[in-house]
Structures are given as C-alpha cells and as structure tokens.
Symmetry: C2
Subunit: 198 residues, 2 copies
C-alpha cells in the first residue's frame, strides 16, 4: 500500500517514514503556501533519508484563515490545528492517495486532529489516516531518533524547518513584525534531519 | 533495545510485534493466573510468528480484585482495565525489561491505560510503554493483518485466546455459571493467529 507522509524535515515525520518503510511504499509530502522556499528545504532532507518527495501547494485561503485565528487567539494552537486539518483534507482529496501519515507523538498537543475529524476524513475520502508515533512517548522517540537519524537542533527562530509554523511566522513578521512573533510563539527547540543512519 | 510485547495470540498483539521487529529485539510475554493453560496456547502462536515467548505469572489477588469489580459493575471494562494495568506494572518491575508494548489500537476502548497511569509507570519503573497500533484505525490494521498474518476468527466463546478475558470468564463460569458470563460479556468476534506470511 502507498502512504503519503506529511513531511517537515524534522525528526518526528522522518522517524514516522522510517517506521512505515518496511510495510508501505512511502512518499514524503511537504505542504507549502509558497511564502518561503520550504519545499526545497524539505526536499534536501528527503534526499538524505532516501524517500521520494513532492510539494503540495495549499490554498492561500487556509493561511489567511490561520492568520486571522492566531491574531485573534494570541497563541498558535488553533491556527496550526486548522492548517493541519486542511492539509490532511487537501492531501486526502488527491487522486491515488490511499493512506496519509504524520509525525504526531503520544504527548503532542499541537497539531492534533480530533477523533471525529479523523473518522470524517477517513469516511469522506476513503483513506487511512495513520500516526506511527502516536503510541510512543518522547523518550522512546528520542531513543529511536538517536539510533536512526542525524539531526541538528536549535531554537525555533534559528532552525528553518518545512513545517506549518515557518510560513505562518513569516506572514506575521511581514504584517506585524518580529514583535508579533515573539508575543505569539513560545520559543521552543526545533530539530532538522541532516542524515540517516543505516 | 529489547521490547516485551504483551501477547494474547490475537491479531493486534501479533501485528504489534511484527511492526516492532525491525527496530527492537522482541520477546512475547503472555500473562496468566494459571486458571487455564493459556500460556501453552500463546506459545504455539508465538512459534508460528517466530518470536521468543515466555509466560508471566500474575498475582492471583489481581484476578480476585477483577472478579469483585466485574460482579459489582455487571460489565467488563473496569475489570479488564485493572488486570491490564497490573500486568503492565508486573512486567515493568521485571529485571531487564526496558520497554513494554501492547496491541491497543486507535479506536479501542478496553483495555486502556490513562495518560497519568502511563506516565507514572514510565517514571516509577524507568521503562518505555509503547503502543505500535495506537495511531492505526481498524481498517488500516485489517489491511496489514491480511498482508502479514493468517488468522481464524469466531465468537468469543468459541475461540480460546490467551487474553485477560479468557481466565476471567472461566472464574465467573466456575463461581456463577454460564449465565453469569452471558450477562456480563457482550458476544464479540475474536481472532487467533495461526500463521505468518513472510
């Protein structure tokens, strides 16, 4: 079975692809609004991992809605959840996509689909939605990452990743300025995959 | 890393072991109160799968508590959850056990550990608790089972499995009779693994 793994170039989506590799034909898919060249960044990481990769252009209305949500809320969760939900739906509507996976871990809070959202997507589009790391805690993920991946880590404003946050931050920077980013996004450690251990 | 997979001989715990196989050294562990020879049933299935297997004797006080819970409740969920929680704790306290896995799927309701129970076990015993199928829906599990396992299916009173329910049903049969079982347990389809597709 083919599976399309939503891919940010980070350790969680990379490890998810590796866990699926033996049982599925894996392609990596990076969603982008074309605000920044995050597709190129992800493509490089995908090449290091040895998986086929493509960029899925998302409708800019999704980004506009996410911008309105995050400005109203003052925190990122609902905006990121919105982009993720629409990204999964967009990918699910692609011809030939039968299974979609992402890198969400057991203790993740953002982004999350609710169970009703998951069942609705699976039923409407006839796809499987799979989270290979959903039953793994942070320590178990880190142990596997150490064994199978080479990563670099840094604060979220230093590491350019191909995730939803990157382009949303850029839009906020353009329209509100760096102050807006500092107010809305908590600083947190990001990882980027730079190699695979075979 | 070693992982001890709680093993009932059913399709979910078998598939979990197969998903982990490439990344961990897998042993299968069947918990038993020695009420029925379920360890032997599981051993046969484990041999078909090609994994090392052992039986873990659980304290009979756990079964007594589960019996009291199920008689008081009139339905199985809390009693099965109790046995599962104590089984994971017993296994976690074994010397040399560093990771424990089970076959719980995304949409399973029984048995379940709560997130606080999981974090408490991981912290107290220094183990990883992993549910490889937690991010898979029923249809995705069935597709993988079809590809990798040979199973037989039947109603829960026809298929003898090596799960918590089997010995709890037997105790109820001995003490209350078949009527007790029919009242407490909803009839449901069980699976038993009889082979592996390589």
């Amino acid at each position: 079975m083919n599976v399309s793994v939503l891919f940010s170039g980070g350790k969680d989506s990379s490890l998810s692809a590796i866990l699926l590799d033996q049982f599925f034909d894996v392609e990596l898919v990076t969603c982008s609004f074309s605000v920044l060249p995050i597709g190129d960044i992800a493509k490089k990481a995908a090449e290091e991992l040895g998986f086929p990769h493509r960029v899925l252009k998302l409708d800019n209305e999704i980004l506009e809605n996410a911008f309105n949500i995050i400005v109203k809320d003052g925190f990122p969760k609902n905006a990121i959840d919105h982009i993720h939900h629409k990204a999964v739906e967009t990918l699910a509507s692609d011809d030939g996509v039968v299974a979609i996976a992402d890198g969400i871990r057991r203790d993740d809070r953002v982004p999350l689909l609710t169970n009703p959202q998951v069942h609705s997507i699976e039923d409407r589009y006839g796809v499987h939605y799979i989270c290979p790391l959903r039953g793994y805690g942070r320590a178990a993920v880190n142990a596997l990452v150490k064994q199978y991946l080479v990563i670099e880590e840094g604060q979220s404003d230093e590491i350019i990743k191909a995730d939803y946050e990157t382009e949303l931050r850029e839009v906020i920077r353009q329209r509100i300025g760096q102050d807006g980013i500092d107010k809305i996004f908590p600083s947190h450690v990001q990882s980027r995959v730079i190699g695979r251990v075979n």
